[in-house]
């Protein structure tokens, strides 16, 4: 195998995955002749193997469609692809297509939940609970995950399918990283402030309402405390109103979207990094890896992919339940009072990430996996072709209805020999 097609949005696409892939390409190019596909291609490039980077956002629509059409290796950046599938169906006016996917994956319950989600009901928790990733996973030659949590889920879903748990690489545009003082000077942040930084796009599941309230209380006692949101903000998020109500006032700063170098400066400028997430869609955060890499203590939500991926001590897990706000406040007060503790956690974090998340090492790991998948590609493709039929046709509908029972038992790769049984029935369509 030589030629590898890498499908993913690339910068300037506003996606952390775009940055991740762009960083990994030079290292991957040492192993393969890499061709990148960053938008809907016509026609698709010829390649020995296709590598699909899939995340839970509309920017990955063309990757999702390609992965379903042409089996390859899927890099699952998020466990849940629900928002992506919603974009591919409901937001394009195809509600029945979305309901079919929900029912295919989750049966009668899925159809019921789907009807609510299609009407924008149920909030963000339902999409997190119904990840809608089965179709791309089942149609893949192999799956790469960036967290042990997702790797375990894939292994249960697709026993026997080639799988790699690839540590999320560390990539810092400024290496070695700038010091806290240098970063603050470069960014115009006060040198003596206690800065808590929430990195990346501010969305509803990053618990920023909690962060705002806690920081307001801290600032009431320590006026030098500042909350920095280092990234753009979802316009639906009422950050300013939250800050006003909590009395945080000008203790909140929102940077807007950042170039990577400034992003690194912001995490380096922080005393503590706040990377909470609930509900989690199983995503591994590149921002967390960078924050750890520059040696900052990072608070993450217990149960999230980041909390499971890094040993306790390297990250600080916070219970996302009713005690969340009290826990965040207690941790921040403790870290505020203990610069030495912040330093020790930061050092632990930097050492761990640099030993286990090196860019060249992870690229080599991925290359070895891709070669192994390619070696079995012919047989794997033949197995995938068996029992498949045109999804839009009656035969495909019948086969999916029966395959549901097998999928529900975890028998994704078992050949059922359905076509011979069901094809005569499908001929009844007039």
């Amino acid at each position: 195998m030589n030629r590898l097609a890498v499908w993913s949005p690339l910068p300037p696409s506003p996606s952390g995955i775009a940055d991740y892939v762009a960083e990994s390409l030079p290292a991957l190019a040492r192993h393969f002749d890499v061709v990148t596909v960053s938008e809907e291609p016509r026609p698709a490039p010829e390649a020995d193997l296709h590598l699909y980077h899939l995340g839970n956002s509309p920017a990955h629509g063309f990757v999702y469609r390609a992965a379903r059409a042409r089996p390859g290796v899927v890099v699952l950046h998020d466990w849940s692809l629900h928002h992506l599938v919603l974009h591919e169906t409901v937001e394009r006016g195809d509600v029945p297509g979305y309901l079919r996917e929900m029912r295919r994956a989750y049966g009668e319950t899925g159809a019921f939940v789907g009807r609510q989600v299609a009407r924008a009901l149920g909030g963000d928790l339902l999409p997190a609970l119904f990840p809608l990733n089965d179709r791309v996973l089942e149609g893949s030659l192999g799956v790469v995950t960036l967290s042990g949590q997702t790797a375990g889920r894939v292994a249960r879903r697709l026993p026997g399918r080639p799988q790699l748990h690839l540590p999320h690489h560390l990539s810092l545009p400024i290496e070695p990283p700038p010091s806290r003082a240098e970063s603050r000077a470069a960014l115009g942040l006060p040198a003596d402030a206690f800065i808590v930084t929430a990195p990346g796009l501010a969305t509803v599941n990053k618990r920023l309402d909690v962060a705002v309230r806690v920081m307001a209380r801290l600032r009431a006692e320590h006026p030098e405390a500042v909350l920095v949101i280092a990234g753009a903000s979802d316009p639906r998020l009422p950050l300013e109103a939250w800050a006003r109500e909590a009395g945080l006032g000008d203790g909140l700063r929102v940077t807007g979207r950042l170039e990577l170098a400034d992003f690194e400066r912001h995490v380096a400028a922080a005393d503590v990094v706040l990377a909470l997430r609930f509900p989690s869609h199983g995503e591994m955060s590149g921002a967390v890896v960078r924050a750890l890499g520059v040696g900052r203590p990072v608070l993450v939500s217990a149960g999230s992919a980041a909390a499971d991926e890094f040993p306790e001590g390297v990250v600080v897990p916070v219970d996302p339940g009713p005690r969340e706000e009290a826990e965040v406040e207690a941790f921040l007060r403790h870290l505020y009072a203990s610069p030495d503790l912040r330093e020790r956690i930061g050092v632990l974090a930097a050492v761990h990430v640099r030993e286990n998340h090196g860019l060249a090492e992870t690229a080599s790991l991925l290359a070895g996996f891709l070669h192994a998948v390619d070696a079995g590609q012919k047989q794997a493709l033949a197995a995938l072709d068996a029992d498949r039929a045109d999804e839009g046709g009656l035969l495909g509908y019948f086969m999916e209805e029966v395959r549901w029972g097998a999928r529900d038992l975890g028998l994704v790769d078992v050949r059922l020999g359905l076509e011979g049984l069901l094809e005569p029935l499908a001929r009844g369509a007039r």
Binding site: R100, A111, L394, Y397, V402, R427, A429
Partner: protein
């Protein structure tokens, strides 16, 4: 000894006419020297989205042999049992899934006008057509069922009427003062129409309703609400002896379901030599009831039905007996031997 497997879709804990018919078919096959058994797969008809999956379960079964014994013939009965695969399949079609056919778009249908439900409906029609095409022969329990098969699936079916449960025991004890209905109390039987009509009759006719079902409570309220408790009686479940006695003493039977597949009430009534009051849209019932010869046929509205009942009540017993005799002659040749002869023709 030839082996025959009767295929039945059954809703567990529910026993109705179809289950009784399957059991009698098996008994009569054995009586005629066949080794017979029944294969029943549970069937749940709701929600609509699950129908196709439920139906396809039949397609996955191999019933060509059992413990090394070859199955010579399979007789599927109602939807979706005829999806079963077998080289010698002779269907005796009780009915298809009517919500995907003649009931579609009526108040009696749970399918919605959504792309998902339309897809399910199309899929059911397609697999019915294909699976019934595989049959060596398709018999139906009435001409009405055969007509639906022709209309919706383009397939020919030959009617083969099933005998009622108590064949040989029905009798006549005269012509009393009540109309009689026996059967399941569900919406399609339209007993609410009969109760409404009873409020309008002038002849003093009474109505006795035997049977149980989901509409029992609703009917009870309707009867009380209209002040008809002294003339309309809900008997609930009755024994076989009571059933035969109730037919024997009735003046006539009432049977006006919507586009019924077949309708035992008609046949039982005729075997008891009683005319039948029905409606012009009653389906299989009309294969037997001829206006003024074997019963009366009204338009399906309370006023017209009340008028039909009054007409019947104005007739002398001798005329009622004539109509009853004509009905009896109409159903006299419905026998199990005739049914078994046709169904097993290909293995005898």
């Amino acid at each position: 000894m030839k082996t025959v497997l009767v295929c039945a879709a059954q809703a567990p804990f529910v026993t109705g006419g179809a289950e009784i018919l399957v059991s009698e078919l098996r008994a009569n096959l054995e009586r005629r020297g066949f080794r017979a058994d029944v294969a029943a797969v549970p069937f749940k008809w709701y929600p609509v989205s699950e129908l196709v999956r439920q139906a396809l379960a039949w397609r996955l079964l191999d019933v060509t042999e059992s413990s090394g014994i070859r199955v010579d013939l399979v007789i599927p009965t109602k939807f979706p049992s005829f999806l079963v695969r077998h080289p010698r399949k002779v269907a005796w079609l009780f009915h298809q899934h009517r919500e995907a056919y003649d009931l579609f778009g009526t108040p009696y249908c749970s399918f919605q006008d959504t792309p998902e439900d339309v897809q399910v409906r199309s899929a059911i029609q397609a697999m019915d057509t294909a699976a019934l095409t595989e049959c060596r022969a398709v018999y139906t329990i009435s001409r009405n069922v055969a007509e639906r098969l022709r209309k919706y699936n383009g397939l020919a079916g030959e009617s083969l009427y099933p005998p009622p449960h108590h064949l040989g025991r029905y009798r006549t004890d005269g012509y009393g003062d009540y109309l009689f209905y026996a059967g399941r109390l569900d919406r399609l039987k339209r007993l609410d129409l009969a109760v409404d009509a009873m409020q309008r009759v002038r002849s003093g006719a009474k109505l006795k309703i035997a049977g149980a079902g989901p509409l029992a409570e609703e009917l009870r309220k309707q009867i009380e609400g209209l002040g008809l408790a002294d003339r309309v009686e809900l008997l609930g479940f009755v024994s076989a002896d009571e059933l035969i006695a109730l037919y024997a003493g009735a003046r006539a039977a009432y049977y006006a379901p919507l586009n019924e597949d077949y309708g035992y009430v008609t046949v039982e009534s005729f075997l008891s030599r009683k005319p039948v009051v029905t409606t012009s849209d009653a389906g299989g019932v009309l294969e037997f009831v001829t206006a003024d010869e074997t019963g009366v046929i009204a338009e399906p509205d309370p006023e017209a039905i009340a008028h039909a009942i009054d007409t019947l009540w104005s007739l002398p017993p001798s005329r009622l007996r004539e109509m009853g005799d004509a009905g009896y002659a109409r159903v006299a040749d419905i026998t199990w031997d005739a049914v078994i002869d046709r169904l097993t023709e290909s293995i005898r």
